[in-house]
Symmetry: C2
Subunit: 113 residues, 2 copies
């Protein structure tokens, strides 16, 4: 057996606004340069991806992506500097929690090693 | 904002078998003395509660509850000594993780204090 840690961020209204789903979505936007392509690559509806993004941005109070509408290639999305910084801090915190909880697992379930 | 930690136990087949739901179910069995009443108190179907219990017991390899079928009062369920011990260890581990992750939160998100 193993114990898995999940970290979820909640806003002041006790609503989830960030966790592994939004984290993967931001990485997919970085890779594809487009919210539509990012959603597609995750098998997610574009409207759902947009909702996740708007919800996170509204809770954080700053933009995670900047969108260029239209243009020859149909526009696209990039992470803002604040978006990159938030993603990095989220992942560093999540990884530190996973690491700490794995150390605690060895302590509480020594017979599982 | 705040960060919430959830701990979930997986078995060798990468299937979830224990977390907050099963933990609450075991407490409800302790309080009501019956799986049926416990399920009812959680607004959960009896068959779902039974499935959760069987799945956890199968993954752990020991019984969490012992059932007395029939009898004047329709039987009932009690936690086994192993069941009580598992519940206690799960909660101690979970609480240690939450505590450690809250300390990390202060470190990674100092401006949120």
């Amino acid at each position: 057996m193993k114990a898995v840690t999940r970290i979820t961020f909640f806003n002041e209204n006790q609503e989830k606004f960030f966790g592994e789903g939004p984290c993967r979505l931001l990485h997919a936007i970085e890779e594809t340069g487009s919210l539509r392509s990012a959603a597609l690559s995750m098998g997610m509806a574009y409207t759902k991806a947009l909702k996740i993004l708007n919800n996170a941005e509204h809770s954080l109070g700053f933009p995670l992506t900047c969108r260029a509408a239209g243009g020859k290639n149909g526009g696209g999305s990039l992470l803002t500097p604040q978006g990159k910084e938030w993603l990095k801090r989220y992942e560093q915190y999540r990884d530190a929690c996973i690491h700490a909880n794995e150390a605690l697992y060895l302590e509480f379930f020594p017979e599982q090693q």
